[in-house]
């Protein structure tokens, strides 16, 4: 059984990499779009099999535990639905000539390498390997953000590249410091970077070094999470890249960086003398939330607006994990899952909307529910969900978070609620503008893949109405693990 368990970990990594090689070689875009879907589906199956397989003992490189299974399954699921959306999105881009078949070959191969990078970051048990994997995932998204090669896309890619590289450099410095702290205790060599061993010996590690290391790690990976004031790359990258990439950036890549931060948070929590990292994360989270909520008002580009909404939600999630404790961690996990599902659904809708209207400017899109009911209502429902209206799942997680915050730090709860409400107002202001009223912009029918977005929204709705018991038990367990 142990062998089998290890096999599904290998499969999660091997399928994307094999698919990437194949996609790089195949010319026809129809075939490769299908192959992309198929590979993503197989990866999802492999990820699901992690639930039932017996877990391999943590090795020096790979690790499977309750925490990362949640992340892997979420990532592969959204990766799969995005590949379906991508197939129809890309077909339209080819027709309009914004992309050529050669670029598509590159695009599909990059998509799978990105999935590989993210999965590798999740299953790695080595803090050096996590770093390499995050770098890989970042590089591939940089390439895809710049794929349209317009002024804006190139600038966005360049900005993302430079800021992301600085972030990754800071994270590496933090990683080296953690190793320096581990060396006297665990000994030289490979073992000093194995996460499970680090946590085991955390109490003996030098707390001062760990503290400094965490600051670098939080700043470094925090750049990737999109925490204010390190978020500058995020709106540009979301707005200018192909929309499937905006969906995975928002829904998945931000989570990868967050996951790295969480791993180090667990490490510091295991050392009684190290600083409590919670307040640091809470401060950055709240700052991002409030900042992004205000920024939402003056947006003129619809994808950019939802990018700011992602900053807002990552702020909420980081705040929740920073507060810690079973309830807040549970809320954070739930919120992360719901945000990934909802935000990617919104980007699916927005992608098709931008295609039919031929613009991303909010002012030039009107009356969507009349001209394209399926897309328009998906957007309205998605925004209702993301803004935290009941009965959607995000309402549940936000409610949980707000009530725990009120119990533990009432003053912060006021700021939290204010941020949520401000963001809520801005989102509704804009979505009502684009969805109702006199239609403006293109009215041509579109071959949209409606299924992925409504499937996501249905899941979010279902989670809001009824959370299945096994999921609650699982999340509770992970919440305890996070401390």
């Amino acid at each position: 059984m142990t062998d089998l368990g290890f096999d599904s970990v290998t499969a999660v990594l091997a399928i994307p990499i094999a698919a990437a090689g194949l996609l790089a070689l195949l010319p026809g875009y129809r075939l490769s779009a299908r192959l992309n879907v198929l590979a993503s589906f197989l990866t999802l199956l492999a990820a699901l099999s992690l639930f039932v397989m017996e877990r391999p003992a943590p090795g020096s490189m790979l690790l499977v535990d309750d925490l990362n299974i949640v992340f892997i399954v979420l990532t592969t699921f959204v990766g799969f639905t995005t590949s379906i959306f991508s197939a129809s999105y890309i077909a339209h881009e080819l027709e309009t000539g914004r992309l050529t078949p050669d670029y598509l070959r590159f695009y599909h191969a990059m998509y799978q390498i990105m999935m590989f990078g993210m999965n590798l970051a999740f299953v790695s048990n080595n803090i050096g390997l996590i770093w390499v994997a995050v770098e890989l995932a970042t590089l591939t998204t940089v390439m895809m953000v710049g794929i349209y090669r317009t002024h804006e896309a190139l600038e966005a890619a360049w900005k993302y590249f430079i800021l992301g590289s600085v972030g990754i450099a800071l994270a590496l410095f933090g990683t080296i410091l953690v190793y320096m702290a581990a060396r006297p205790v665990i000994g030289e060599g490979q073992n000093g970077m194995v996460w499970t061993l680090l946590v085991e010996h955390a109490a003996q590690l030098d707390p001062a070094l760990l503290n400094v290391a965490f600051v670098f790690l939080l700043l470094g990976y925090g750049t990737k999470v999109g925490l204010a004031p390190l978020h500058a790359w995020l709106p540009d990258a979301h707005a200018e890249g192909p929309t499937p990439i905006s969906a995975v950036l928002s829904g998945l890549l931000l989570n990868v960086a967050l996951y790295a931060v969480l791993r180090f948070k667990i490490l510091l929590a295991a050392n009684p003398e190290a600083i409590a990292v919670g307040p640091l994360m809470m401060t950055m989270g709240l700052a991002s939330l409030v900042f992004a909520a205000f920024m939402l008002y003056r947006r003129r580009d619809i994808k950019r607006m939802f990018a700011y909404s992602s900053i807002e939600h990552m702020g909420i999630i980081v705040f929740a994990f920073g507060m810690g404790g079973p309830l807040a961690n549970f809320a954070g996990l739930l919120h992360m899952t719901m945000h990934s599902l909802t935000k990617s659904a919104i980007f699916y809708a927005v992608g098709h909307i931008a295609q039919v209207k031929g613009t991303q400017k909010i002012a030039e899109i009107r009356g969507l529910t009349e001209t394209h009911p399926a897309l328009g209502w998906a957007l309205v429902i998605g925004v209702a969900a993301i803004a935290g209206l009941p009965p959607f799942g995000i309402f549940m997680s936000e409610f949980l978070l707000v009530s725990t915050t009120f119990a533990r730090a009432p003053l912060l709860a006021v700021v939290l609620v204010a941020g949520l409400l401000i963001g809520f107002g801005a989102l509704f202001l804009h979505v009502i503008e684009v969805s109702f009223g006199e239609p403006r912009g293109g009215t041509a029918p579109v071959e949209a893949s409606i299924v992925p977005m409504y499937a996501h929204l249905a899941l979010v709705l279902a989670a809001g109405l009824f959370l299945p018991d096994p999921m609650v038990v699982w999340f509770r367990h992970v919440a305890l693990l996070l401390g």
Partner: protein
Amino acid sequence: MQDLSFDIAHLLAGSLVLVSFMILYQVRLYALLNIYALHAGVLAMSVAWQASIQDAPHLYVTAAIALIFKAIVIPVALHRIIQKLGIHRHIETVLGIGPTMLAGMGLVALSMVVMLRVTPDVDPLAREDLAFALSVLLLGLLVMVTRRNAVGQVVGFLSLENGLILAATGARGMPLVVEISVAFSILIAFIVVGVFLFRIRERFDTVDIAALDEFRGERR
């Protein structure tokens, strides 16, 4: 003998900080590239020295990468790109030289204070190495912040990354150092190719970041 090896390691790491300062005040593009080549050369020597005193032959690979790739290939490639794209030879800085140098000194002092204070138990060689590495890193960041020119920023990033390699090799027995330096070399290659492939010159008629800003999605 122990003392001598310590002194030499110290000297090399210290020179790296010194060369970082030279990068900081250089405003002519070609001269900047030459200084960067020097920076990478000093790094290569430092890494090679660490390899010999730590008895860690794999670090020679990192040293070789630093020497061949960073000290020769990258500067030559950037040199050609500058010629081909016809970029202005003079770099505009945000701050004057004086304030920039003062800020740089402040950063070095900061990194000394932070690193020496939190690492009293670490062996002295690694400790000083870390402090120097953090200085190089922060100086690299400062270069990136104070340059308006894309190539200038790239050189800032490259020197920042040299600081990281210095830190990684100073940490005795750290695994994955070679892998990380290879990963970084790939990243750098991407950046350099990026300047060229993104054809910042062709698309924007300048590699000046301020001009890029005009093309932002949301001009107001």
